[in-house]
Amino acid sequence: MTIHNAIKAAVVAAVGFGTAAQAQETVVWWDFLGGGDGARMKQLIDRFNQEHQGEITIDATTLEWGMPFYTRVQTAAAVGEAADVIMYHASRIPLAVEQGILQPLTAEDWQAMGLGQDDYAPATWDAVTVEDQQYAVPFDTHPIVLYFNKDILEAAGVLDENGLPMGMDSREGFTETLRALKEHGVRFPLGSVTADGNFMFRTIYSLMGQQDGELMTDGEFLAGDNGEKLENALSVLAEWTDEGLQSTYTDYPATVALFTSGEAAMMINGVWEVPTMTDLSAQGQLFEWGAVELPVIFDHPSTYADSHAFAIPANRGREMAPEKRAAVLEVISWMANNSLFWATAGHIPAYESVTASAEYQAMEPNATYSSLTQNMIFDPRSPLAGISGPIFDVMSTYFVPTLNGEMEPAEAVEMIRDELNAL
């Protein structure tokens, strides 16, 4: 490497192009974006490569989302084979820091990128921070929202004058809306991912947040009355199942299929499904649809979110050259500045200059649901948290039977509390 560079420098100096010729850097990039957002990320990467021709090239690989991705990153970093820049869920940063697989970002790094704390919402900034040190650059936040089929809701008479579902402000109100849809003959008023407890964690945690519930208090799980709040959250969903208001034992792809085929009138899902809807809509294969912040079932609005962030792996035994680091920082910075396009993937850009722009505020359906950024809650800051983490598995094991009427919410809460505290 050094000899190679020395020779190159000598050649460059000899020819006299000292200022013009810069070594071309290749930035190896790993992400886990396999869906509609992956296609949009590819466009962003292509644009970056075009604009940086002869200087920086991103060599991107998309790996399988979730456990396969994180298993690979952990082991690759340990032997110095991980990429130069990777996409990371903020919820998994505490574990990554404990394992020492991410490089901290220094003040100089932030300066080089032209980004800083003031550019992000406080909750988002906290999500990438462990003990006052940042380990990733937030790229977006991706909460869950309520998707709805305007055609069906209108026909059932539960669409208000603003084109939004009725009964969004209370448990009774929303349940009434669901009942009205059922009476109208809709097979599933609400499409819920009831076969996938991992996924339902997002909804249930949001409902806990609506009661100011905490999953983890000073290292203890479900301390005090938090168990009760979890039970409340589970009870609402169990009640909808009992009344036949939501789909049972439905996995993720089936839920999306139920909604897009019109068999489910509404669906709670991540904003990352927005491209699915816009793409289908563009092909003329979808009804009139909308997406809005979750209904307020309890005291106040609250929505679970996670953040896609860019991180630099700590490759063991492989020092990162300053030129390479500069190139990586340029990649991250460029992506932040061009994240308006990323909003077409449904995600909410984390960089606030973008979300403050007039162009962003004119985007639909983003503008309808972006009010929820005030009410976002993230995972507890623990190495046990995050997607595909141990908390998810414990939750999932008890959520699935509870949401499908096989187990009482109170019993589930007891088991969850015991198992989480035994982790």
Binding site: Q99, V193, A195, S247, A254, A257, L384, D393, E406, A422
Partner: protein
Amino acid sequence: MLTNRRKDAWIAAVLVAPFLAIYLLVFVYPTIQMVMTSFTDAPLIGDGAFVGTENYERLPSDPRFRTAAWNTAYFVALTVIPGTIVALAIALGVSRLAGRMQAAILALFFLPYILPVSVVYLIWDWVLNFQFGILMHLFDLLGIDRVPITKSRDWFMPAVAVVTIWWTSGFSILLFLAGLRSIPPEIYEAAELDNAGRWTTFRRITWPLLWPVTSLVFTISLISQLKIFDQVYLFSQGGRPNDNLVLVYYIFQRAFQQNQSGRAAAVAVVLFILVIVVSVLQFQLLRLAGGRK
């Protein structure tokens, strides 16, 4: 003929060396490392402090370990003997066919075996899926209530067992067929002359002469089913993972999800010993049972 013993030994050593080197490197060395790790509190990456037998002492009172051990035993019971019987029955049927027909039918039965596990999972998810599975539409037609097969504790292991037998029996069928072909036809002709019925022929000739193959199939599937992981992992994604735990899944959870290599290694050592003990015991038992006849 005179041979140079020294030279022979040298040649033998050279020929064995590549295998020995690889064996030591990728099997013996990691195994020793694993045993050593099991006495530490190591995370997934890097070393840990020595903690004695603490990781082992925790196991008997660890509910997840107990679920995993129980499910593994249950799965072995559901697959090993039934799987061997199914393979034997199919092999007997296929051996009665001749020529191209036999090749075609054999290919049909062998086809699933060449599929990767992820494809097997997808195919069966299309069948078993609660909302869109083909089987559920069949249930609807017959007026039976839909069953969330991969999401219920009672149905999960039996379903995965059926899928596993469907997937892996092709290999056992091949072994059985080879065994059946090696039985000399003269014996069957003699039996026919003696007016032996089909059942008697099977019980007195085919079964005992096939015994070495049967015990081999049995042992191979026992070992591979004790190490079950892929199917269980895929089918329980998002479902009820902690209810469906098997031993290798639990090792994976501890090591990769909870960053506790030490505790994972302890479970791995237990499984390692279990596989050795069970398979040696079983092979000896089967040999004895075969020898008695």
